[in-house]
């Protein structure tokens, strides 16, 4: 038996009113969540990064003891996914096995060529280097890396990363991004990359400290780095 039209319409009106109320509630909750500007950005990897790097000397863009017999130079863009892969997979193992033991020092030469998000991230990391925390910030940027050129590098993200690094003055780091010292450090890294003929990231140079360097390309495995570093340490 078909329901009389009037009754069907009444049911429909009641249901639509309920649906409108439900939708209004959901939208209200969404608006409240969206406008909560005081909510801090969640920074991933803060505890792991602090545990990894605590107690290891940092001087500007150099991690490790100045008199380490072997030097590894990293050329990276903060937006490059393979740089992040290396930074999160291989770098921690090398730090624990070689840098902490004083055998290897790692030099960070940051480049900004992937796109508009690259430069502010790099400037922030280099600015943190003035407080001896460049490597903490690069690791946290890699931990929290977004998709290339989507506007993921916001001041809010960078400040939150700075605040997640113990011993780093995040305000000073943010203020120092446009300084002449940071511009000069970026130009130095760019100059080194041009001299070395770097055309992609990540690219690495490895050699005895003060000696000639050999290039390694891509996010190579920890095993491949171990082989190269062990061979140099035996020289």
């Amino acid at each position: 038996m078909a329901m009389p039209k009037l009754t069907a319409n009444r049911v429909l009106v009641v249901v639509l009113l309920v649906a409108a109320g439900l939708a209004a509630g959901l939208i209200a909750l969404s608006v409240l969540g969206g406008s909560d500007e005081a909510k801090p950005t969640t920074i991933h990897g803060a505890a792991d990064t602090e545990a990894l790097l605590a107690g290891i000397p940092q001087q500007g863009n150099v991690l490790g003891k100045a008199d380490a017999p072997v030097t590894l130079v990293e050329y990276a863009d903060m937006q490059c996914p393979f740089c992040a892969q290396w930074g999160l997979d291989t770098f921690p193992a090398l730090v624990q096995e070689y840098v902490r033991a004083g055998k290897v020092r790692i030099v960070f030469n940051g480049l900004a060529f992937v796109g508009p998000d690259s430069l502010p991230a790099l400037q922030t990391a280099v600015s943190a280097g003035k407080q001896g925390k460049l490597w903490n910030v690069t690791e946290l940027i890699f931990h929290n890396q977004g998709e290339e050129n989507t506007g993921w590098v916001t001041d809010d993200l960078l400040r939150s990363i700075g605040e997640a690094v113990p011993g780093l003055d995040a305000g000073k780091m943010m203020d120092g991004r446009q300084s002449a010292a940071v511009a000069s450090a970026l130009a130095d890294a760019q100059g080194s990359a041009q001299l070395a003929g770097i055309s992609s990231t990540p690219t690495f140079e490895v050699g005895r400290t003060g000696g000639s360097m050999t290039q390694l390309h891509g996010a190579l495995s920890t095993g491949e780095f171990r082989q190269a570093l062990d061979s140099l340490l035996q020289q």
């Binding site: 049911v11 649906a19 959901l26 969404s30 969540g33 969206g34 977004g146 989507t150």
Partner: protein, 136 residues
């Protein structure tokens, strides 16, 4: 169209929506990024935005639950199930319209998967209303 055909339409649309919502939920919890067919990275931006959650619950999970409930109503005959289906689909469509506005006007990025879901829930709302009106 008959009541049975509208029920089938609601069921099929709910199944499609369930598929999309499942993918978005998987992408969210696996730490990955929803693959944007035309590129541009809008999905990543939308997923990272404050509008991707409601009261701490990811919108993708809400969509998953909504489409699952809508699918369930398609398996039950009668006016009550049809009415519940309308409630779910219309509320979902209205909330989707708000999220589409948020993407265009507030986040300034559009997630193609979300837009696909908006189309599915809008069609499902039409089918659910038609089903109720044809309901025995």
């Amino acid at each position: 169209m008959t009541d049975r055909r509208w029920r089938t339409a609601v069921g099929v649309l709910a199944l499609v929506g369930l598929g999309i919502a499942s993918y978005l939920t998987y992408a969210r919890y696996s730490g990955g990024t929803p693959y944007c067919v035309a590129g541009g990275g809008g999905c990543e931006t939308v997923q990272r935005s404050d509008y991707a959650k409601v009261a701490g619950i990811p919108v993708a999970v809400l969509g998953l639950c909504g489409f699952a409930a809508l699918l369930a109503t398609a398996f039950v005959s009668g006016r009550t199930a049809a009415a519940v289906g309308v409630g779910i689909a219309v509320a979902g469509a209205a909330f989707s319209a708000w999220l589409l506005y948020a993407q265009l006007a507030l986040i300034d990025a559009v997630c193609q998967w979300c837009v696909a879901n908006d189309v599915v829930i809008a069609l499902a709302a039409v089918a659910a209303v038609a089903r109720l009106r044809q309901s025995p």
